[in-house]
Amino acid sequence: MISLILHRVTRVIIHILLIFSIFLLLKGHNEPGGGFIAGLMASVSIVLVYLTYDIETVKRFMPISYPAMIALGLFFATGMGLGGVVLGYPFLTQTFDYFQIPLVGEIELATALIFDIGVFLTVVGATLLIISSIGEGS
């Protein structure tokens, strides 16, 4: 049951959606957004792809093992926390600083971003694992 319109539209907006989700991820510290919202956003967009195409296509399009993605996400989140422990701070201590970068100007870099990326990866991995598992279970 293929709908041409759906295919076309999906092909157009999927990129915008994914970019938007990255955008949500990056600005989460200062505006609404953050790892979880971004992760769900990305998942929903990939679900849209699942809805439009079939599982095999998605697999070709994105050859990712979701359990590994979950593991990676947890690794990022925990690893960030352990970094603090190694440096003599409590577990999960965050820090941030402002850097002057030529041309761009002052930007803020926070370790929280690493954590947020971990959240992002885990959420994407888990959500898609759930949905694709059910989809496949048929």
């Binding site: 709908s3 157009v12 907006i13």
Partner: protein, 134 residues
């Protein structure tokens, strides 16, 4: 009341007009295929102009910012028809009668794929009776 406010008010009023039209259409039109026109068209327009109004309200006229909002308008224009299209297609597939306000089975015949779950004709009929909503 300056010009900006007037423009905003105009857009908002247009927006709300379309929105209420869409809703009334959704409520009042006789059957599905009629009804689907109202919300998709009207609300798309209505929401777009509402957003425009808001953009002007916040960022002046012509707007200094508002990329995000304009993106939203773009998306609505892209996605709302697709949704409506899919829905209409689905409605067609589920054999919603064109002219009568028939009672519709929400999942009749969905068993095309799942062969092993294909129930007997009799059972299907029986289920159909049971399923009749409301």
């Amino acid at each position: 009341m300056n010009l900006q406010e007037i423009i905003v008010a105009f857009f908002l009023l247009v927006g709300i007009f379309f929105i209420i039209t869409g809703t009334v259409g959704l409520l009042r039109l006789p059957d599905f295929y009629n009804r689907i026109h109202a919300p998709t068209k009207a609300t798309t327009l209505g929401v777009s102009s509402t957003i425009l109004g808001a953009v002007i309200h916040f960022y002046g006229f012509p707007p200094a910012d508002g990329f995000k909002e304009l993106l939203a308008i773009l998306f609505i224009f892209l996605t709302a028809p697709v949704g409506a299209h899919m829905l209409a297609k689905a409605a067609y597939h589920s054999k919603i009668d064109l002219w009568k306000d028939t009672i519709v089975d929400e999942r009749a015949g969905k068993r095309v794929i799942g062969e092993e779950k294909m129930p007997s004709e009799e059972k299907l009929e029986k289920e159909e009776e049971e399923r009749t909503p409301e």
